[in-house]
């Protein structure tokens, strides 16, 4: 082991200690959590920030003149500033807080697309997408008569870039594309794709749910129009999410939902909407969750996203090496550029059976279609087993996965 590798693995050991949930036994075995792509675990600092807020500061935001409301508002808006800095948005007005990636995408479908599209227009997505980046577009197409078109992928699970580019025609109103595939881990060359879309005059929404946890994100450098992501995939609480939107676009969009907080003045004749980003934040928000998300960002900033990316890349390489040694394994998703996510099949064992056998050895993986049924159909399968690594995982976790797979082979021999 080189000096650099030793430092990396020591850093990982320190990171792991920060996640109290990992220190437990499941079914008599130390827990190996390999399902972070479904939901990532939270460091103690996030859990504590949420608890402290609930114990000491809770009140409604943007309303009260009393001290607790000020504290709650400061903490909540402070988290928005942290998010802005984390993804390098130009302005805090461009950070819309939502319940998650799904709501962020639905917001764009209904507020950006629906009022402006009709029959003859197209929404372009890819074959890699999660259902959350398919169904909102199907809905808006049904509502408006627009057409949903799908860019193809190759057998490695990589976008066919030439085909994608050729589909960026004049009648495409929006390109909605995942940054990283949740099911396969493919990292799309998103910056080049956005640059081409921009040349064609097509706005781009990036589903960044699986991008943000693994690498530094700079929305200005990417030059995307919308970037959607979720708190719970990036070590924060569930029920929190973000829609980054270019200010000029957000400004021109009608509100998504009506209610409190999104208004300046209401009469029964007319309502004046609040300024950005509050125009899109109707109702009392998930205050404690957003404060937790702010704490998660503090944690990631101090760990360093670049360091995390390097560590995960090494660990992913180790996982590929070890999985490759398992007899009868078929890796699904073999793109050249991947996040630390690997889907696979083992012999003729159904992924659901594999998940149960692994769970009984303390190893938590995701099984099934990963909310990407068209993608599974593309590979002619009903589902896969998926191991997804975060920076709190280590080579022991990978070894335990491989040992558990060997046991599964014995049960099904």
């Amino acid at each position: 082991m080189t000096q650099a590798q030793r430092q990396q693995s020591m850093a990982a050991a320190d990171w792991r200690k920060d996640f109290p949930i990992l220190n437990q036994s499941v079914n008599g075995q130390p827990l190996v959590y390999l399902d972070s792509a479904a939901s990532a675990q939270q460091p103690a600092s996030v859990i504590d920030a949420v608890a402290r807020y609930q114990r000491e500061d809770h009140a409604n935001v943007h309303r009260g003149v009393h001290t607790l409301s000020h504290r709650a508002t400061d903490a909540y808006e402070g988290a928005r500033d942290k998010i802005r800095e984390f993804i390098n948005a130009a302005n805090r007005t461009e950070i819309v807080l939502t319940s998650g990636t799904t709501e962020s995408i639905n917001l764009v479908a209904q507020s950006f697309c629906r009022p402006r599209i009709g029959s003859g227009d197209k929404i372009l997505i890819t074959h890699l997408e999660h259902h959350a980046n398919i169904v909102p577009w199907q809905l808006v197409c049904e509502q408006t008569g627009a057409e949903l078109i799908v860019a193809p992928i190759d057998d490695h699970g990589q976008l066919e870039l030439e085909a994608l580019r050729s589909m960026m025609t004049n009648d495409v109103f929006l390109l909605a594309i995942g940054h990283v595939s949740n099911a396969l881990g493919t990292v799309n060359p998103i910056k080049e794709i956005i640059a081409h879309a921009r040349q064609c005059g097509i706005p781009v929404l990036v589903d960044g749910a699986q991008g943000v946890p693994h690498m530094p994100i700079d929305v200005q450098d990417l030059d995307c129009d919308f970037y959607a992501f979720s708190g719970h995939k990036m070590f924060g609480p569930t029920g929190t999410g973000v829609l980054y939107g270019r200010e000029t676009l957000l400004d021109a969009m009608p509100p998504y939902q009506g209610g409190g907080d999104m208004i300046l003045e209401v009469s029964f004749e007319a309502t004046i909407y609040n300024e950005l980003p509050y125009k899109f934040e109707a109702g009392t928000p998930n205050i404690s969750g957003v404060i937790g998300l702010g704490a998660a960002i503090d944690y990631l900033q101090s760990a360093g996203m670049q360091r995390i990316a390097v560590y995960e890349s090494d660990l992913h390489e180790y996982m590929l090496l070890q999985l490759g040694r398992v007899d009868d394994i078929r890796l699904i998703g073999t793109a050249a550029n991947k996040a630390s996510v690997q889907s696979f099949l083992l012999g003729d064992i159904h992924s659901h059976d594999l998940g149960t056998i692994l769970d009984h050895q303390g190893v938590a993986i995701r099984t099934g279609h990963h909310c990407a049924m068209p993608l599974m159909t593309r590979f002619g399968i009903s589902g896969t087993a998926r191991a997804s690594l975060a920076f709190y995982n280590n080579t022991d976790d990978v070894d335990r996965l491989v040992a558990a797979l060997e046991k599964a082979r014995q049960v099904f021999k």
């Binding site: 079914n27 008599g28 075995q29 064992i349 159904h350 992924s351 659901h352 059976d353 149960t356 056998i357 009984h360 050895q361 303390g362 190893v363 099984t367 099934g368 279609h369 049924m373 599974m376 009903s382 589902g383 022991d396 070894d399 335990r400 491989v402 040992a403 558990a404 046991k407 014995q410 049960v411 099904f412």
Partner: protein, 164 residues
């Protein structure tokens, strides 16, 4: 770490030989040409899909049965055992078996005296092979999928059965 992760008895009980045998070589597998009744079962959690076909004769007996589809070992084995069990039964008796099996599997490991209206000794003894699933709450739906489809087929429900 290698070698430490023992497969527990529960798992071996779940995937006992009879289950693996039926999963690998399902009985009455395929489409039934002269079906009078059919229904689909869908498990939205994992996307498993099974279709149960019945031929019900003039005396309200199931004179032929088959199933097709794809699923995990538990759902396929359960469907296969189902076909072995209910073929030849009257519609009423098949309904009774459906209720008994689904209730029994939902019991969560409680081995209650058999008061469910059928004798799980012969000719239903094989169904005990499914009991292992009671230790795995997330898998009970796999084991009951085909049974819900059977129930729908007997009633000729227009909607696919789900385990929800």
């Amino acid at each position: 770490m290698n070698g430490h992760a023992a497969v527990t008895d529960d798992v071996l009980d779940l995937y006992r030989e009879l289950i693996l045998d039926h999963a690998r070589s399902p009985r009455h597998f395929g489409r039934l040409a002269n079906a009078t009744h059919m229904a689909q079962g869908i498990n939205p959690l994992c996307g498993d899909k099974l279709c149960v076909y019945l031929s019900i004769d003039d005396t309200e007996h199931i004179d032929a049965i088959s199933f097709e589809g794809s699923g995990c070992a538990i759902s396929v084995a359960s469907a296969s055992l189902l076909t072995d069990t209910v073929i030849g039964l009257s519609v009423d008796k098949a309904e009774t078996v459906f209720s008994a099996v689904t209730k029994r599997l939902a019991k969560g490991g409680v081995d209650e005296p058999n008061d469910l209206g059928i004798d799980l000794e012969r000719p239903f003894a094989k169904l005990r092979a499914l009991d292992g699933v009671r230790e795995f709450p997330s898998r009970v739906k796999c084991a009951t999928l085909a049974w819900h489809a059977l129930h729908s087929a007997l009633h000729q429900d227009a909607q696919p059965a789900t385990t929800e």
